[in-house]
């Protein structure tokens, strides 16, 4: 069945979120926030397995604590994104979500993505949002305490929260058991092997790795062998003798490098496609913006002088 933590936490969180979104009054709002926070904590603690730590206490580690904190931040900020009556605040809270996500990425070993996320999302996309918000809210936003009527009242929060709860429970439940088969040691071996192999694709990376083990030696191309979590390679030493060398774990290529190799090597068409999509989006944005250039009345009249015709604009 659905894990108890999820069920209880989800229910609590939903009730709290509903209270927050109903915006019935200050007290209710606060209470709702507290309940939602409780529910969220229950969910996160359950997710982190705090309910049943390992016998030797190995269940809790520093990355886990960091991730827990990032999770709390992330969930709270996300809640505020959808509950804040002021769109600008919502956008800023979204930045917080992104920053928390960055921390989570770091704990999961995705260093490159962590920084790309902050740069692309917080730095570029969110700025665009802010820009548009400012542009659009200028007039309406000042009218009534900084937020328009449609921002202050949620639309059918009951249905929204219910649907969200159902989706959360089912997706989280489906994911819950996924880690049961997770074996850190094996996974680490696989990851290491894949990194070694990726290094084979990168002559420069391999030279650096060999240099780290045996200074002055040069690798013989195509001789790398990966077995288990270890990699060995034939090298030509500085003195011209050849030797078989086992690469150390410390000479693994960094995350950015391997992600780059995977990106270019495994998904070349997708890379091209992404470029096409960006180009198309640029063209689209230009055309949409151009549509906003309104005609003067005289021009409109000239265009529509054909009887019964016109109206294209």
């Amino acid at each position: 069945m659905v894990p108890t933590e999820l069920l209880a936490g989800g229910a609590l969180g939903a009730v709290g979120l509903l209270l927050v979104m109903l915006r019935g009054g200050h007290v209710l709002h606060r209470a709702g926030g507290a309940i939602a926070a409780l529910g969220g904590l229950a969910i996160l603690a359950g997710g982190a397995g705090l309910g049943a730590p390992g016998a030797d206490g190995s269940g809790v580690s520093i990355p886990l604590v960091v991730a827990l904190l990032a999770g709390v931040l992330s969930a709270a900020a996300a809640t505020r994104v959808i509950s804040s009556p002021r769109p600008v605040l919502a956008a800023i809270f979204f930045v917080l979500v992104v920053v928390a996500g960055c921390a989570l990425y770091l704990t999961l070993g995705a260093e490159f993505l962590a920084f790309a996320l902050v740069i692309v999302y917080a730095g570029a996309i969110l700025i665009t949002y802010m820009f548009v918000l400012m542009l659009a809210q200028q007039a309406s936003g000042e009218r009534d305490g900084g937020s328009a009527e449609y921002d202050r009242n949620s639309r059918d929060p009951m249905a929204a929260v219910f649907v969200g709860l159902v989706l959360f429970l089912s997706i989280a439940t489906v994911m819950w058991r996924a880690v049961d088969s997770y074996d850190p040691a094996t996974t680490a071996q696989i990851q290491r092997a894949r990194s070694w192999i990726a290094m084979g694709e990168l002559p420069k990376g391999m030279r650096e790795a060999v240099e780290a083990v045996s200074p002055g030696a040069t690798p013989v191309p195509g001789t790398m062998h990966v077995s288990g979590g270890e990699a060995s390679i034939d090298v030509t030493a500085a003195d011209g003798t050849s030797a078989h060398l086992t690469l150390l774990e410390s000479s693994l290529p960094p995350n950015t490098q391997t992600v780059g190799v995977a990106l270019v090597n495994q998904f070349p068409v997708s890379l091209e496609l992404a470029g096409v999509i960006l180009l198309m989006a640029m063209l689209g944005a230009v055309v949409l913006a151009r549509r906003q250039i309104d005609l003067g009345d005289a021009q409109k009249a000239a265009l529509h002088s054909r009887p019964g015709a016109g109206g294209a604009e």
Partner: protein
């Protein structure tokens, strides 16, 4: 309940957060009327999917999840560019960001 190792707990925590972000995004998409905030909510959903991909990548010791996330960022940027252009266009027509202002087409 079986005890989790630290790494497994980390991954499951990330997955739960991913589901949470996704669902909060959907709930927001359904309840907010401001079109810009609505689109922000779809970005939340994208965030959830991206986090799940990275967590699963960690779980399998595979990097393609991270590569996928790069593309999600790209597409999110492209969609945002178009969506915001459209929203501005709509705003010019109706002087409002309220999505319910556009409900003339119906049964």
């Amino acid at each position: 309940m079986t005890a989790l190792t630290s790494d497994a707990a980390l991954i499951r925590l990330a997955l739960v957060i991913a589901a949470l972000l996704f669902s909060i995004g959907i709930a927001g998409f359904l309840s907010r009327r401001n079109m810009i905030v609505m689109f922000l909510c779809t970005e939340l959903m994208f965030q959830g999917a991206a986090l799940a991909l990275i967590a699963f990548g960690k779980m399998h010791g595979d990097l393609s999840g991270q590569v996928f996330t790069i593309f999600i960022l790209t597409v999110a940027a492209a969609e945002a560019a178009l969506a915001l252009g459209l929203v501005i266009l709509l705003y010019r027509r109706r002087e409002t960001l309220n999505s319910e202002a556009w409900s003339e087409l119906k049964e």
